[in-house]
Symmetry: C2
Subunit: 366 residues, 2 copies
């Protein structure tokens, strides 16, 4: 258990360069971008930040430290399909979807978490953590403070870790207010040491090519262990240098985030409106880059097979890339994730025209 | 077996950015630094290069693709102590040292390889590959062409992979000529698909902070599989951009490598000379950043314990950092790796003075 934590306590002698101290490089004196996003409602301690070459290795390294092969994380679904690859592939950890449903606005139910936890236990699987994305990818909803409190109670009660992937924290555009799990921990009611936040600059600052991610952990042993793993995913120094200048310009960052949010809101509205004209409804998202789209009424059969058939036609006939709900482990067929930030405003009518053709064809052949 | 190879054949749907094509970015039109080092004696195909954020993740990712947990690699020892951490920690692969001895100039013996291979087989351990560093870290010797031929015959005979870590390929300074394993493969006699080369810019171009490593593989399946793992260790784009300019300037690179070699030779000679004055002999190295130093006659007891005692005094009394041979799995006590590139010429007398004091003390108390 906690394989890397014990590793972190051994000192290994090696000739190649070490990156032990690079974690502090970006935050000391320059603030942390997540702090800008939280607008002063919570403060972050630089000593608790571990930097990695993107959020992808961040979540993998963290997972390596929290669980052994064969252990499991509970993940509210639909969830980001990359989790399957990023976490399961090399760590041997299992992900158990905890299904959220349209009838409940795809909200997380603690009862469902409890159910899956018990099921896993019955099957002899050790659950180690709950992993969630907030704002959620793919649904785009934001977890209410009450749900976060309930989650903290749940993980405390079951002695689990809580991983909060907040890579879209600054990419909100709806009326709902985003609260990081960090805000709730400031109250001092909960055992912070079981909470870990994933962040990155790929989404909120559109810097995916820079490969900058971070783990913010409240657990000293985890910080020590993950730090050792950064030798596999260090951020290059020229990039760090560039970022220090960029992040030091707080006025620019604030303005960027503001304009980015406005543009996300515009594109989201445009996309939702376009789909509405085709008779397609979207979930009311508040954050992230995706519309969560209900095309269930266009399925030839209400099943994963029917969903993948429609997906294939959207891909190969309409030439539009969307993500089928099935690959996000959505329990209800017919939902699709559409990324509205990869197209320009001018492209939207063309995209809609193409999708429309496929949907008409599906409707006609039903 | 070959866990990641099969993974590479499945297509996974994900929202986050992919780096599948970044591998070609640095080499197309710009040549590859390794090619400059080989001075035209061998050509490299850009499609066979996979770039990673340093040689460390390169070797880890490659290992993940070549073996399953519990499998083993045979590694001529003394070997780079970082291999233990970089390979064993997350992959679960075992490293089996194949001892090279001072009486044989620390040369690799195929008979010893054969012996360890058979031993492993007897113990039910599946050997997957032979891993070597050439020029060797820590010894600094260069493998003869004949040994490389014998090695290729050995791995072919046993159906193993061969991983050649050539991160010091451009950092040679002795009279011995370095030959990459790639040169021998150009003859077409051997099955190339079992050979993989590790390279990086940290050593030959002193760019460790840039985090740029590479795998050069002759195996299509391995290339496909490792490419998928680069999402955990991508090189940031600003750094790639900088490197393209740097590597395009072939005149600069050639001049840099030439001057670097000259300086390595100077520092090596200075260090060896300094140690000689203390009555300490070094192995005759030809490449890399290290003197491989025989201090066995200063051990209070001819054992690992005696070696570590001397090491502790050099560290804590002399305040000089050296690597004990034991951490390189050297079978003979009393050898130490001394990095001569971390000090300036001016520092050498001080370093020798400090070491001298410890050695005198050890001699006196023997």
């Amino acid at each position: 258990m906690h394989a890397c934590v014990s590793y972190a306590n051994t000192s290994v002698c090696a000739g190649r360069c070490a990156f032990a101290c690079m974690g502090v490089c970006l935050c000391v004196g320059n603030g942390w971008i997540h702090e800008s996003i939280m607008r002063g409602s919570v403060s972050f301690n630089p000593a608790q930040i571990i930097l990695t070459a993107g959020a992808t290795p961040a979540i993998e390294a963290l997972s390596f430290c929290l669980a052994d092969p064969g252990n499991a994380f509970l993940v509210p679904s639909p969830y980001y399909p990359g989790f399957d690859r990023d976490i399961k592939l090399r760590t041997g950890i299992e992900l158990i979807p905890v299904h959220c449903r349209s009838s409940n606005n795809f909200s997380l139910s603690i009862a469902a978490l409890e159910r899956e936890y018990k099921q896993a236990k019955k099957r002899g699987i050790k659950v180690r953590a709950v992993l969630l994305s907030n704002p959620s990818n793919p649904v785009g909803n934001i977890l209410h403070r009450e749900t976060l409190y309930d989650l903290l109670s749940f993980v405390t009660d079951k002695n689990l870790h809580l991983i909060s992937d907040e890579v879209y924290a600054g990419s909100t555009y709806g009326s709902e207010e985003f609260a990081s799990i960090a805000e709730l921990l400031d109250t001092g009611v909960f055992d912070n040491s079981r909470v870990h936040i994933i962040y990155g600059l790929s989404k909120d600052l559109s810097l995916s090519g820079f490969r900058v991610g971070a783990i913010y952990s409240y657990n000293e042993n985890v910080i020590a262990a993950v730090s050792k793993l950064t030798r596999f995913c260090g951020i290059s120094l020229p990039t760090q240098h560039l970022l220090v200048s960029m992040l030091s310009d707080t006025k620019f960052i604030e303005e960027y985030l503001k304009v980015n949010r406005e543009r996300l809101a515009q594109m989201y509205a445009l996309f939702v409106e376009g789909l509405k004209h085709l008779g397609v409804e979207c979930f009311k998202s508040s954050g992230g880059f995706y519309c969560w789209v209900d095309m269930s009424k266009f399925l030839k059969s209400y099943s994963v097979k029917g969903e993948l058939e429609l997906w294939e036609n959207i891909l190969n006939v309409a030439k539009v890339v969307v993500t089928p709900g099935a690959s996000c482990h959505c329990i209800e067929p017919g939902w699709f994730r559409c990324c509205f930030t990869t197209v320009t405003e001018r492209d939207v009518p063309l995209v809609m025209k193409r999708i429309s053709k496929v949907l008409k064809d599906h409707k006609a052949r039903q």
